[in-house]
């Protein structure tokens, strides 16, 4: 592989990793806590992106200012899905597989509801970009700022998980709910907190995805498989794993895309994804033949 291509791969991959890492962190938090694949998480990205773009283009807020309400709305949406759908379902004893099917239904409801409100036409963010030439690649200042923001948010989430009281409570709750309850942890409060944080991370990812291209109703849905793949490769439920795997797979994806046509990239990664599923099952010892 020639060095220029390698350079391109790394830079493009790194810049594209910003939204994917954040989305994977949010996704993995929910899995860690509640133990099911929440497909409706994709709609957090979409809702974040739409909130951002509406504030940006219709109310004329600057892009960086619009991020804040966008991620808050996405976080609240995430909490709402938990309180209105998943919590009652879990209390009614709906099993894990049915919860996933339910989350697919919820995702349909939100996605097509948004389509009815906003239509299928794309909404672009209005934001002036300065193009910078960096190591022979044209990149924008926006991409760099997003990358830095993503790094800061990721570090914050890591600190939260491993350095704060809440993070400790959350890990306790996901490992052993009974024990956590007897130690005086309020499970509802911690769970709401986690769903909110996951939604906020998803909102960031959605806004970044939207500003890098356009905002459409299926923005989150198109990425959800890739997000699941990242979290599974990184060890589902692990926040540091999600961050590392997000960076690695984004760089790999850009490499494969640069070397062949863009669709081969998606296929390679999906194959890798099935391999990762298999590998983790073997490592867990949960495999039965």
């Amino acid at each position: 592989m020639n060095p220029i291509l390698l350079q391109f791969t790394f830079i493009i991959g790194l810049l594209e990793a910003a939204p994917m890492v954040l989305a994977a962190v949010g996704f993995t938090l929910i899995y860690r806590l509640n133990g099911f694949v929440n497909v409706a998480y994709s709609e957090n990205l979409t809702i974040g992106a739409y909130t951002g773009v509406v504030l940006n283009t219709m109310l004329g807020l600057g892009f960086y200012v619009a991020i804040i309400p966008a991620v808050l709305v996405s976080g609240l949406f995430s909490v709402a899905t938990y309180l209105l759908v998943f919590r009652p379902a879990m209390r009614r004893g709906v099993n894990k597989t049915e919860l996933i099917i339910m989350s697919v239904g919820l995702s349909f409801l939100i996605r097509y509801g948004l389509t009815m409100v906003f239509g299928v036409l794309p909404y672009p963010f209005t934001h002036d970009r300065t193009f910078i030439r960096f190591l022979n690649i044209g990149i924008t200042d926006l991409q760099i700022v997003c990358l830095i923001l993503a790094a800061l948010v990721s570090i914050f989430y890591l600190m939260f998980m491993f350095r704060t009281n809440y993070g400790e409570k959350m890990r306790a709750l996901s490992d052993n709910e009974q024990l956590a309850k007897t130690s005086g942890i309020n499970p509802l409060r911690v769970t709401i907190m986690i769903w909110f944080m996951a939604g906020v991370a998803g909102g960031f990812a959605g806004v970044f995805l939207g500003v890098f291209s356009i905002v459409v109703p299926w923005l989150g849905w198109y990425e959800i498989l890739f997000i699941m793949m990242i979290t599974i490769i990184g060890g589902i439920g692990s926040v540091p794993g999600a961050i590392v795997a997000g960076l690695a797979t984004s760089i790999l994806r850009s490499g494969v895309t640069l070397m062949s046509d863009s669709y081969a990239g998606a296929v390679t990664l999906l194959v890798l994804f099935i391999v990762a599923l298999k590998y983790q099952a073997v490592r867990k010892g949960g495999i039965k033949t």
Partner: protein
Amino acid sequence: MISFLTSGFFASMLSFLAIYVALTVILHLQANVAGVVNFGIAGFWGIGMYATSIFLLRFNINFWISIVLGAIVTGLIALPLARILLNLDGQAVLVGTLAFASIVENQIFVNREITGGSRGLGTIPMPIDVGPYRFIVYGLVVVAFVVALILYAWKLKKAPFGRLLFSIRDNELLSRSLGKPTFRHKIIFFAITCGLIGLFGGLTAPLHSFLLPMMVSPTVTFTAWIALMLGGQSKISGAVIGVLATEFVFFYLLRVILPLPAEAAQMVPFFIYAAYGLMLVLVLMFKPTGIMGGKRRGN
């Protein structure tokens, strides 16, 4: 009345309803009898549809032989996938099959020389050419296939092989300790049922007459799942009722009976999918056994 019954509209409605009933019944067999959560129906269905059309158009093979070949191809593709996935837990199977379906959609899009890519593949003629009645005659043939499938499903649940599958679903360890090669049976059953999905994919090809990659979208998968969940996942009748309740009521009655202005009519498909989603959530929340009821099984 006779002219309506022989019209292309009625024939197409009947055929598509029958195809969805078939997919949902097969899904019931996989999910409820064998305990495999298949979220890649669209993928297998698409392979069958495209393989049949390719045999028919590119190799000039007779339509009915093409359908059988298409089903065999689908089954052979499902076999290694089953070997890789089926010994993982339910969530992994779900995600893995979903990923498989998206690979299929991608590959149909990319391999333009074979599948026609986004330019499409066509035209697939109606296989039984009996003048103006060709649509309804073909529709009745599709219905006959579906009736045969339902009879097979009904027999299977009473046959020793069906009982074996139930026992694997309920307690695989116990079943294995009784000397049954459980994993092999699961793989073979999955491959056969996926082959059947491919067969019905092949039967769909003349109905579309012109194939596009976007037809192989996950929507097909979810439509079948929603129908099954709504109708009742543990009964064959549930699959039939579920399809009638979703496809028929939403797609046909809503469009035929309600006179909508043009702008609102554009919104109807979105409204339908949003309503599907809402229904799925509500059914699982309040009546997880569906309309037809029956016992519920936990994982």
